[in-house]
């Protein structure tokens, strides 16, 4: 059965980021709440307009309730799912359905973490399952390393290709004043970087920062009356194929293949229609795998695609135009930041604004390449 989705009938009406980088003295919930309040204000709404909360905090399994309490809201619906960094794309799919059905009127999706100022302690909340743990893989890093090693073996992907992802991210970050990691980064810096879990070095890994983001969604007809240009949601799909990387049938292929195909079918677009892609780059291999699985290049060609300069400033497919998780921010889960950047590109408000963005994609990754979710955003011209 094909997906049923209310294409374009719901939209992002407000968005915000807050505290990107280092915010000592702030709790994760305070960062989240500040981003949420800014997003509600950006939408031209007030807090009591919000009747549904979507949140997935790193340090609070009851974050939905904590968030409602912190804001002083009694939402009609609260969602606190646990699919990792793709949670926020999944939240959008659910919010779109509930909004379109008239079950809710205004959804607030938020995330924030003080992971950097808190000393990275949050990273230990999740561990390998009982089948993998006795062999002491670094969680989640070694799972990505196992995928990378196999991709290199099968397709000839090189460490230079991995470095091209990090270098592109840094090039975008260098012209984004909000990006946490700016400054020169060379191929030699990447190749000589300290190895952590072969073939992944420190330069293949995302940042550890603080930061928060939030979006407000409502029905598009209502969003048209609000101050900011609506960013209609054309498609949103999630896919789950495994949890542990050991259970992947092929570690070089992720469920992004399914989530993107379904989201693009809902949206009625193909990869060539997408002007910019915001991909969850927890590690350099993520960008390569997702470019392949989302259909921007054939399987196995991701390394050569990124090394051609395609995703960097001036390239044919601008990717992670804010600097991504590798150089912009990564406070534990990056998904919502990818969504905000895609929406900013549609609005024409991005720090590295691309010309004429009518369709943008944001792709989220959760677990160890385990949970994949894709959203397609458009301008009102695409309705």
């Amino acid at each position: 059965m094909a997906d049923t989705f209310p294409r374009g009938r719901t939209a992002i009406a407000g968005l915000a980021t807050f505290g990107i980088g280092e915010m000592p003295g702030w709790t994760s919930m305070e960062l989240t709440a500040q981003a949420a309040l800014l997003a509600v204000a950006d939408a031209g709404l007030t807090l009591p307009d919000v009747d549904a909360l979507f949140i997935c905090q790193p340090d609070d399994f009851f974050a939905g309730m904590s968030f409602a309490e912190h804001l002083g809201l009694q939402p009609r619906y609260t969602d606190n799912n646990r699919t990792g960094g793709s949670a926020f794309m999944s939240h959008m799919a659910v919010a779109a359905m509930l909004l379109d059905a008239g079950y809710i009127d205004c959804a607030l999706i938020a995330y924030g973490s003080n992971q950097r100022s808190n000393g990275g302690k949050l990273a230990t909340k999740i561990t390998s399952n009982q089948w993998d743990a006795p062999y002491a893989p670094l969680f989640p890093l070694t799972s990505y390393a196992l995928a990378t090693a196999r991709h290199m073996h099968e397709y000839g992907t090189t460490r230079e290709d991995l470095a091209a992802v990090a270098l592109a991210a840094r090039a975008w970050a260098n012209t984004n004043p909000d990006a946490f990691a700016r400054g020169p980064l060379t191929l030699e810096d990447c190749l000589s970087a300290r190895m952590i879990s072969t073939p992944i070095s420190v330069r293949d890994c995302c940042l550890v920062t603080d930061g928060a983001a939030a979006i407000v969604m409502t029905r598009t007809d209502r969003a048209r009356d609000l101050p900011k240009p609506p960013v209609p949601v054309l498609g949103a799909a999630a896919a789950t194929w495994w949890n542990s990387i050991a259970q992947a049938k092929d570690v070089t292929v992720t469920a992004a293949r399914e989530s993107s195909a379904r989201a693009m079918a809902m949206a009625g677009v193909s990869p060539s229609d997408i002007r910019t892609a915001q991909l969850y780059d927890a590690f350099t291999i993520n960008t390569i795998l997702f470019l392949e699985d989302l259909g921007f290049c054939p399987k196995g060609e991701g390394g050569r695609f990124v090394s051609s300069g395609a995703i960097a400033p001036g390239g044919t497919l601008p990717v992670n135009t804010n600097g991504g998780g590798l150089s912009y921010c990564h406070p534990g889960m990056y998904g919502l930041f990818a969504i905000v950047e895609a929406a900013r590109q549609i609005r024409g408000e991005a720090a590295n604004q691309i010309d004429a963005v009518d369709v943008a994609l944001a792709h989220g990754n959760g677990g160890t390449l385990s949970s994949q979710a894709t959203v397609i955003l458009g301008s009102v011209a695409t309705l």
Partner: protein, 119 residues
Amino acid sequence: MTGPEAHWRAALAEGRLLLQRAPDGSVVFPPRLAAPGSSEALEWFEASGRGSVYTLSWISRKPPAEPYHVALIDLDEGARLMSRVEDVTPETLRIGMKVEAFVEQGGEAPLLLFRPVED
């Protein structure tokens, strides 16, 4: 009667590697109650223990500690699992290497490991 995981661990403690087979012949690991994607019954069988390295990663440690590795092993019967290959170095361990299972009984719990075998 115990659940599938306890049954598997009891066999491992005896030095035996069990796997489950679905009616369509596909082989299942980790142990579970029904064939993946269906409710069909699974049957236990004793695996050959032979397999090959599907992918691997060496994990750095602060010197002078040596790096250690984890590998995903494809068992000849068709299942895949995470483990470690003993008696190898970063120079000798490679994707595609043929390995065979053994059970290390000395630690806190029996541990399934592999060692290289001739092709």
